[in-house]
Amino acid sequence: MPLETPPRAGSIRELPEITVASDTRDYLAHAAKQALKYDDYELIVDIDAHLQEGGFWGEIIGLLENDVLKQTAEEMMRGRGGMPLINMQPGMSFQSLAGRVPHQSGPTEPTDDPAKAGHRFVQIVRRTIDTMGLDYQIIFPTSMLHLGMNPMEDIEIYLARAYCKWLAEVIIPQDKRIIGLAYLPFNTPSECEKLVKQYGDNPGIVGFTICAVRHKPVHANQYMRLYSMIQETGKPLVFHAGPHWDDPSFSQLNRFISMHALSFVHYNLIHMTNWIINAMPERFPKLKTVWVESGLAWIPFLMQRLDHEVMMRQSEAPGLKRLPSEYMKEMFFSSQPMERNNLELLQATMKSFNAETQLLYSSDWPHWDFDPPSSVTTLPFLSDQAKRNILGLNAARVFNLPVKRLRPRAAEVLARMNERHT
């Protein structure tokens, strides 16, 4: 029914198009409303979010402890910018779906004076974690996920060191809600060991990550001392999957979607298979392993496949004292990208690996397939306790975090957001 007197223009607020330059708080405004629903949860931990390091590459390059590589990179940056040394693969620029998902290409939003408000990246992370209602966020790199495929091994070593230094000395000290993992230059085991020694006691570095896009068998003898050292720290070893279009099998795939759907699962399938068949869980029973960003559907697939074959070919996996699935049920998995289209299958999947105690919420923000915490809270088949565990309490166990609220109240965040627009 038409109004006799239409409302005044002032009572209607126009919402702008979301673009690559949008403020994170506007981008995630709906997540802030969702956060009201889990505001009373003890702890919310996002175990996988990403630095888009392209925007800060000059700073990381500046920390390189190798003068040849540093001069090379600086020279390349002077010439054409970009991310020298990273060995970026063709095709990765398709991530943003031709601009349909703009946050993938950011951030380009304005931030405040770093002298007053902190490092630009810290400011952006604060906007994200407040808006999504997170107590902690664990930061991973983005482009460096492929560094394991760089044929120049020294580049992986020196970039790993520079990245860890930047994260541990520049970023993490500015906000205790931002935590990270040391990048292990896995192509060179002795260098990984040095980083474990260096960061084993660092409270802001809560684990060690193997960026899984690489052709290195994780069961090779050269890594045994490394795993012992990590086990000793009590911190987890985290396998982070990634995309890779240059792998010979994947070069048959003609669309980014196809490569992305398969390759993120592929590398964790391979590393997990080597890990299990070579009985690493028997050799390192106290080493916590976390498998990140392959979704969930692969877990029951691999459990069934390996259980089936191990029963017939025990002589090829003689180190196992139990079925592969039994070991996998003791490992930890990140939740994103959660396959939610068929809830019956998802429920069975979660049951297969005891998600209530083994699943860790992850957003993958700001990547195009990110999951807000509501991806967990809205699942109809999970108990309230399961949701609390998955959203934070499980992560507290794995990453040795105190169960103590650090995030502001959701209503406070919403009030601040409204103020920005008045």
Binding site: E14, L15, E17, W368
Partner: protein, 125 residues
Amino acid sequence: MPDVIVGKAADFADPGRKVVDISGTEIGVFRLGDEFYAYHNICPHLDGPACQGKILPLATEAVCEDKSSTGRIYSKTQTNIICPWHGFEFDIRTGRHPTDGNVRLRPVPVSVRDGDVYVNVPVRN
């Protein structure tokens, strides 16, 4: 709630849109040619701000008579609104996802009278 004016029809680009927050209810109003369409700014996927995304034509596969493909081309007839959170696309005319039509934006009644565009804002619970 009764009808609310969201703007002058002539001020909308073609294709164009205006997303408004009316006392906490967010609505996207779209113009395609002489027609107007309106939807709640809530994506059926994970509640993202679907109406605030990019507007692009539907991408189609150009399959020839012999079943070979010459690649992808944009539709000349269908225009989509794309949720900026993860890229779900919705036909602006129907609000439906091109692959799974059961996934759709929630429509809001919209009308044009005397050059003004009105939406009928549902009463909030």
